[in-house]
Symmetry: C2
C-alpha cells in the first residue's frame, strides 16, 4: 500500500502522466487480487482499485480479454516452465505439471476465467510449444498431440481445484447410509495427502498412456 501511495504523490506532482503509474504488471497483480477475492472483475472495478480512470486501462490492455491474458501471465509466473527443458520427457512433463497444478491451486477462482478465454500470451504459447516438442520427441503422432495435451491439462486443472479443496471433502450426515463411501474414506492410504495421491495416480496414468501411444506409432 505504501508503494501505491508514493506513486499517487508522484502523479500529482507532474500532472496526469497516465503511463508512469500504470503498467501491465501492476494491472495484472491488481486483477488477480480482485478475482481471488470476488471471483470476477470488471474494468471499472479494476480501475477504481488502481486509482485510475477506466479508459487509462486501455492504454495497456486490449479490454476484458487483455485482462484475462494478464491474469494468465500472472498465474504463469509461479509455474516453472524451465522444467520443460529437462529430459527425459516424462520428468519434464511431470515437473511442469506439478508446478502448473500448484500455480492454479493458489488461485482457484481465476480458473474459469482462464479456461474460457483463448490463449494469446507469448510466454504461455512458448510453454505449449515446448510441450509439443517433447511429445514429438517421444513419437506421439502429431494429429493426436493436442487431444493428449488437452487431456493432461484438464486433469491438472481439475487437480489444482482439488488441491485448493478442504482436506475433508465428504461429510457423511448420520441419516445418510453410504457404507462403501464410509469404508473407502476410512481406509484411504495416506489420507493426509488425499489430493496429492489422486494427482500422482492420474498423472502417472496419463504419462504411461503417452509412452504407450508413442511406442505404437
Amino acid at each position: 500500500m505504501g508503494r501505491v501511495q508514493t506513486r499517487t504523490v508522484d502523479q500529482r506532482r507532474v500532472g496526469r502522466p497516465r503511463r508512469p503509474v500504470l503498467d501491465r504488471r501492476r494491472i495484472g497483480e491488481a486483477a488477480l487480487a480482485l478475482v481471488d477475492e470476488t471471483g470476477s472483475f470488471t474494468l471499472p472495478e479494476l480501475a477504481r482499485r488502481l486509482g485510475v480512470q477506466t479508459p487509462s486501462l486501455y492504454h495497456h490492455v486490449d479490454g476484458r480479454a487483455g485482462i484475462v491474458e494478464l491474469l494468465r501471465e500472472q498465474v504463469g509466473l509461479s509455474m516453472d516452465a524451465g522444467q520443460l527443458d529437462r529430459r527425459p520427457w516424462d520428468a519434464a512433463l511431470r515437473g511442469f505439471f506439478r508446478s502448473y497444478r500448484a500455480g492454479f491451486a493458489a488461485h482457484p477462482r481465476v480458473v474459469p476465467l482462464l479456461t474460457s478465454s483463448a490463449i494469446r500470451s507469448p510466454d504461455v504459447l512458448a510453454a505449449y510449444e515446448k510441450m509439443l516438442v517433447l511429445l514429438g520427441e517421444v513419437g506421439v503422432p502429431r494429429g493426436e498431440a493436442m487431444a493428449i495435451l488437452t487431456a493432461c491439462e484438464n486433469f491438472v486443472i481439475g487437480s489444482a481445484l482439488d488441491l485448493a479443496a478442504p482436506d475433508v471433502m465428504w461429510e457423511l450426515p448420520d441419516d445418510v447410509d453410504a457404507p462403501h463411501l464410509a469404508a473407502a474414506l476410512a481406509e484411504q492410504s495416506g489420507p493426509d495427502h488425499r489430493a496429492d495421491n489422486a494427482f500422482e495416480f492420474g498423472l502417472s496414468t496419463l504419462l504411461a498412456s503417452i509412452a504407450a501411444r508413442s511406442s505404437s506409432s
Copy 2:
C-alpha cells in the same frame, strides 16, 4: 417472472408467510443464475433477487455453505445418476462421467465454489456410494478407491471447463514462433470435436487404468 409475481401477490394477501414464497429449489435456482452471471454470490444479493430479507434465507439453508450445497444439487439435477446402475462397470462410469461433464460445463463459474466446499448433499453422496460399489465390484483395493475416483473427477471437472471453452483455444500472433504448436493445431484429427476428443482419450485411459488395477489386486 410471471410465477414470481403471482407469488408476491399471494404473499401480500395473507400477510408475510415466509415459507410459502421461499423453498430450497427456488433459492437454488436463483443462486445458480446469480453465480452463472457474476461468478459469485452473497446472501444479501441472493435475498434481494428473491425479494426477501436475508434472514429469511436462514429458515431454509445453513448459511453460505448451505447455498453451495444447493448449487451442487442444482447442477446435479442435470446429471444422469441412473447411469451408475448400468453394468458392466465401465459403461456405468463412462455414462455417468459424460453427464457429469455436461452438467458442470453448463455452469463453469460454479465449479470453483463446488470444489472448495465439503460435500454434504444426500443425493450427491448417494452417487459416490454407487461409484464405490462399482469400484468394489471391479476389485479395486478399497484403500486406493478414493484416490482413483478423485483422479477421475479431477479429469472430468477440468474437461467440463474445457468443454465450456472456445473452439479456438490457441491464437498464434504473427510475432510468436511456435512451429510445433502451429502444426499440431493444423493437424489435429477431428478439430470440430476438440474438447470431446481430449475427454474421450483421457476417460478411456483412466478407465483402462482402473481395469488394470483391479486385475492386479
